[in-house]
Symmetry: C2
Subunit: 238 residues, 2 copies
DNA sequence: CTTCCACCTGTTGGATCCAATCTCAAGGTC
DNA sequence: GACCTTGAGATTGGATCCAACAGGTGGAAG
């Protein structure tokens, strides 16, 4: 029982690094991720990078083609729409499973997040907080499969949520805040029927809004190469 | 342009082999899969086995713990129940997405499968045909994510479906056949509303029946070691 | 000028060896 | 006798080297 917890195994460190790079938008949809580049930047061999990419694939953050390597999945308009329909059907179930097991401390945390979302002005921070609010509301859900599936769907949609936010249309986050309050209130009342209704409405509204912006899919489909944030290691050899 | 298609890359061959071993029940829930054993039996090094196990993890067929290796996930009663609730909500969506794009040939295939299921007497074969019928009905669904998610849920529940079938209660497959006909008929009429209703009812009935057999979860949770069927190949060089 | 083919380079896939970790049983101590 | 400790064996994680495949480039023929 020594350092297992402080030395998280290289492949997991790499997975964590890449996960953040993808979720933060540093690596965008369609961009390729080359093993050697990541390995060099993080100071390991390519092998743990391969493992990390497979882990991320299981999380829906990368996709893999034989002999061609990994890239961040790019969705077309219809696929994103269906992904939102999946969320519309599954996340209410996760919420219903979660509500009875949420501690009062967790509910207070959710309220804090809702307040931050209402107050916040930074669009990038909004994405983080909104994700934390929703996934946090599923924290009581004890079943691995459901949580993993919901998380995968959030992972897959994240790049497009980001692109949508940066479109710079009218700021309608007050609607988001209103819907969050409804959901939160239902959670407090332990009313899972209401909670499901408000949540699916929340997701459906977002889906419809996204669907009105086909320009999200024209742009960055072309295969660029990913720049990994230079963490460690200053380097570049030869 | 040589043999890319006939030489499917070792890791994929291994993944295919293990996938079949798990789905066929040869490796049961909770059983451990050791890299070296698989590597030896299939005549490769451990590396492609590691890759294969990661692929299977993405498909919901194995789970991985650092420094402890892979095993076939074992579900408890509640988790299996929730998995069926997920199927109840998601598979109707897959069917609705699929119906408009099914060719008449595909519909005929479904009808053939339904006939086989009604005629068949071998319980093990039933599992294969039933899976083929349902996943086949989603074949027109063009979206990768939805199909992959549905397949993952089928993969995860498969071992328990098998255990349930071998319990040897009264044979109620005539109910299954009846429900399949209702679904098939709705598909032919392109009536996705009816199709969704019949399908979710079909899954719900199964879920409730499964829930009445808690003895499914006492048994094989203990960690045995998997026996890999020595398959292929006469070969293996050196 | 266009098209097709061979070659070459960049990148991923696999094998072998070594290091780190876990499991578990034997032995010692209180 | 019960419990903790300490090893040895078994098993997974990582590094390095080599092989195989994909894509692009240049040249030659039409």
């Amino acid at each position: 029982m020594t350092a297992t917890l402080v030395t998280p195994a290289a492949s997991e460190r790499i997975a964590t690094h890449l996960r953040e790079a993808i979720l933060s938008g540093e690596i965008g949809p369609g961009e390729r991720i080359r093993q050697e580049e990541v390995a060099e930047r993080l100071g390991t061999s390519r092998l743990p990078v391969r493992e990390a990419l497979r882990m991320l694939e299981a999380e829906g953050l990368t996709e893999h083609t034989a002999n061609k390597g990994a890239r961040v999945p790019a969705l077309d308009r219809h696929e994103l729409d269906v992904l939102y329909q999946m969320r519309e059907r599954l996340e209410p179930l996760a919420l219903t499973e979660s509500i009875p097991h949420l501690t009062s401390g967790q509910v207070r945390e959710l309220e804090g997040l809702a307040d931050l979302i209402a107050a916040d002005t930074d669009l990038s921070e909004f994405l983080v907080l909104d994700r934390a609010f929703h996934l946090g509301s599923y924290a009581g859900c004890g079943t691995e499969h459901l949580l993993a599936t919901v998380t995968r769907m959030w992972n897959s949609t994240q790049p497009y949520r980001r692109m949508f936010m940066t479109l710079g249309g009218p700021d309608r986050r007050w609607i988001v805040d209103h819907e969050h309050r409804l959901i939160l209130d239902a959670i407090k009342r332990q009313d899972s029927v209401d909670a499901e209704r408000f949540l699916s409405g929340h997701i459906r509204r977002t889906r419809i809004e996204l669907d009105q912006h086909p320009e999200l899919f024209g742009g960055p489909h072309r295969a660029g190469r990913a720049r990994i944030s230079g963490t460690t290691t200053t380097r570049r050899q030869a």
